[in-house]
Amino acid sequence: SQWGEENLQALSIQEGEDVTMNCSYKTYTTVVHWYRQDSGRGPALIILIRSNEREKRSGRLRATLDTSSQSSSLSITAAQCEDTAVYFCATGTGGYKVVFGSGTRLLVSP
C-alpha cells in the first residue's frame, strides 16, 4: 500500500516520560525528514537527517537513521504537554519526490 494510506498510530504518555517513534521506509533514501503537525495546521520540519548521519539532535529531540535496515526513529526526552501533535517521517531519494510515512499521533498528558 502507499505509505500515507495507512492509519495513524497512536501513543499516549505522561508528561516527563521519554518516547520513541519509529519509521521504516521501503526504497533507497538520501535523507529522512521528521515533521510535526499541530491540529488544523500544516506539517513543520523538526529534524532532517541525511544518509551519512547516524544520529541528529535538536534540543529534546533525537533522530537516528539506519540505512542498512531502512529505518529511522525520533525520540523525545522528558515529553511536555506541548509535544502533543502528529509526527511524520518522510523520505527523499535525491530527486524531487518526497514521500510521507503514515505518522504517529502523540498525546502527552499532565
Binding site: G4, L8, K97, V98, F100
Partner: protein, 114 residues
Amino acid sequence: GGIITQTPKFLIGQEGQKLTLKCQQNFNHDTMYWYRQDSGKGLRLIYYSITENDLQKGDLSEGYDASREKKSSFSLTVTSAQKNEMAVFLCASSIFRGGTGQLYFGEGSKLTVL
C-alpha cells in the same frame, strides 16, 4: 521569512463538480507540491513541480489536474468531485532538490463534497 498561502481554506462542492485549489508562495522556491491528507491518515503526494510550467505526477494523480504557470503559484483541480469525499489538501514548497531539502507547508484547504 516566507509564507505559503492556500485558498480557499474551506471548499464545499457537489458530486461531479470541478473544483480548483490555489497555492501561492513568496519564498522564491523552485519546487512545489500538492499532498492529500485524509482524516486519521498520512500525506499522499498528488502532483509536484520542479519549475515553472513543469508538472510531475505523484502516487495519487488520477482524478486531479495541476497547473504551474508562474514560479510562485501552483494550482490543483479536482476534475470530478466524489460524493461524501472529505480531505485536506496541503501545498508545500522547497528550495532544494526536493528530497534533500525542507518542505514548507501551507495551512491546508479542506474539501467537503455533498
